[in-house]
């Protein structure tokens, strides 16, 4: 029973990761690539971590796996946001099919204060 659960979970996880990779390779513009990868990969790794938590009987491993997942969820969106923002500030080109662009109209990012 555990084995089958493990197999299923890990397969889904691995596939999610695979899709993320295919996505990053195939998607036509930077934003789409970013959009695709972060979550799918996080999900995939999360599932694999659940597998790990189930394999090792110790509480310590379980907590560790949970912690890793938690850290990923905490950091991945932040990273995605930061790089996405940088790309936007640098006016990285969007795909030709992008329908609406609210940010461009605002043009507010140029007057940002540098503080690092």
């Amino acid at each position: 029973m555990t084995d089958i659960t493990l197999a299923i979970l890990s397969t889904i996880g691995a596939l999610a990761i695979l899709f993320a990779s295919i996505g990053i390779l195939r998607m036509p513009d930077f934003y789409l690539r970013l959009s695709v990868t972060v979550k799918a990969a996080t999900l995939g790794v999360g599932l694999l971590l659940i597998c790990a938590a189930m394999t090792f009987p110790d509480v310590s491993v379980t907590t560790k796996a949970i912690a890793i997942g938690f850290f990923l969820i905490l950091t991945a969106p932040v990273a995605a946001h930061m790089i996405g923002r940088a790309a936007y500030i640098q006016r990285v080109k969007t795909w030709k099919g992008t329908t609406l662009n609210d940010l461009e109209k605002e043009g507010q990012l140029d007057c940002r204060k540098e503080n690092f």
Binding site: L32, S35, K39, Y88, L103, E106
Partner: protein, 158 residues
């Protein structure tokens, strides 16, 4: 509310200590047991928020996971099939979230859902700029986000 949560935690630890087996399932069971006990004991108290929130949190997490899976499948399909169904857009989204924590949680949830990504927060912290992969209309997207995600989240937090 925090007091109750701590109490609940303590109860689950005691349960673990009593049973002597330190497995997470056992801990979870202790937690649920403690929750039930606390709920029953506090039935007459004025402040019932804790007992609403725990189920709500659980349901939000389940909802979020569901959303994530659905969106992932959608993206996955799009990624592996030759044709793209995507309709990307960058949308300005007026937030109701005010504190930093609220904004952060909101954006984390938005970002973790496939198909959406926070690009920026406005200086005045009132607007989010979201990159959307599948957008039929802006209004629909904004209202869905508002009702399904932001409202639920804020309910939990406030």
């Amino acid at each position: 509310m925090i007091k109750q949560f701590l109490m609940n935690l303590m109860l689950s630890f005691i349960w673990v200590a009593l049973t002597g087996s330190m497995y997470y399932s056992n801990f979870l069971f202790g937690f649920l047991l403690g929750f039930a006990i606390l709920w029953i004991m506090n039935k007459n108290e004025a402040d019932q928020r804790y007992f609403y929130r725990v189920p709500k949190t659980v349901s939000f997490i389940l909802f979020f996971l569901w959303e994530m899976i659905v969106a992932n499948v959608q993206v996955a399909y799009d990624v592996i099939t030759p044709k793209f169904f995507i309709k990307p857009a960058i949308v300005k989204y007026p937030m109701d979230a005010k504190t930093d924590l609220e904004i952060n949680l909101l954006s984390t949830f938005i970002s973790l859902t496939p198909g959406t990504l926070i690009l920026d927060v406005s200086e005045d912290k009132k607007t989010l700029f979201i990159h959307v992969m599948y957008m039929k209309s802006k209004e629909q997207f904004v209202s869905t986000l508002k009702n399904n995600v932001e409202r639920r989240l804020l309910e939990l937090l406030r």
